[in-house]
């Protein structure tokens, strides 16, 4: 029975053990929106790593695609309580993007086409924990899900994985982003259920 059930569902692991507290499993991919969906032409797309003083590195779309690519498969956890297991992405590790960056900064602010921002400790972007991704499930990332490229930081609630990413600013002090200044938690660890400010 167990074998039949597992084959039928195509899910080789126990779902509950992978669900953070308060989350439920979905099989679709909900789209949450805080504004109009930006449409960014690829010939005008660029991604920057910068400091308050100016850009440190900047990549065009072609330059970005020429960087070493990874294909992480990760679980997603949205603060609105849905989780989605085993999502497949393609993109560039932040370790690659930060390779030549000399900085003593401890904080990062991801900023997006359309004006969205979200803040993270810089260490949460490094050591294989974050990517800038441009494919989902073997297809080009569609604009409603953050295409042409979005940040992917799966160990934090999904609002930290900024859609339509335009750049990452390295900072010496923490600058809370869009939702972090509007009532949501500054860090957003799903395993500690850090949903709202003060949780």
């Amino acid at each position: 029975m167990g074998i039949i059930s597992r084959a039928f569902h195509g899910r080789p692991r126990e779902p509950d053990a992978k669900l953070p507290p308060g989350q439920y499993l979905v099989h679709d991919f909900p789209v949450l929106s805080a504004g109009p969906t930006p449409r960014v032409p690829l010939d005008r797309w660029e991604f920057s790593i910068d400091t308050a003083e100016g850009p440190v590195h900047r990549w065009s779309w072609e330059e970005f695609l020429a960087l070493p690519q990874e294909t992480p498969t990760v679980d997603l956890h949205c603060v609105t309580k849905w989780s989605k297991f085993g999502t497949g992405w393609k993109g560039v590790s932040l370790d690659v993007l930060m390779e030549d960056v000399e900085s003593a900064a401890e904080y990062a602010l991801a900023y997006s086409y359309g004006g969205y921002t979200t803040n993270l400790p810089l260490e949460d972007l490094l050591d294989g924990k974050a990517w800038v991704v441009h494919e989902f499930d073997g297809e080009e990332l569609e604009p409603p899900h953050g295409g042409p490229a979005r940040l992917l930081v799966p160990h934090l609630y999904l609002w930290k994985s900024a859609k339509w990413i335009k750049g990452i600013r390295l900072l010496n002090e923490d600058w809370p982003g869009f939702w972090e200044t509007a009532g949501y938690h500054n860090y957003g660890d799903p395993w500690r259920e850090q949903r709202y400010d003060g949780d």
Partner: protein, 86 residues
């Protein structure tokens, strides 16, 4: 169209204000447009309501509703002119 008009704020804001503030005249901090909150473009409701100026699309206000608290952020509003009957 992926947003509702500002009348969608009436129910959620009635938890906070005793008056119907969707009839209040707001002024956008970004472009200066004046108009009733009912004319804002409202995205959400999850993870929070985001009301944007119908002219410049900048954020006028956000409303996040947790289990025990509501956070109303008027970051993009210069002022609200609220009609009050005598």
């Amino acid at each position: 169209m992926d947003y509702q008009d500002g009348n969608a704020l009436a129910g959620p804001l009635s938890e906070i204000f005793s008056l119907d503030v969707t009839v209040a005249q707001g002024k956008c901090a970004a472009c200066g447009l004046r108009g009733p909150l009912a004319q804002l473009h409202v995205y959400g409701p999850d993870p929070g309501l985001v009301a944007r100026c119908p002219s410049c699309e900048e954020v006028v206000l956000t409303l996040v509703r947790g289990p025990n608290d509501a956070w109303l952020d008027l970051r993009g509003s210069v002022s609200l002119r609220i009609p009050i009957a005598e």
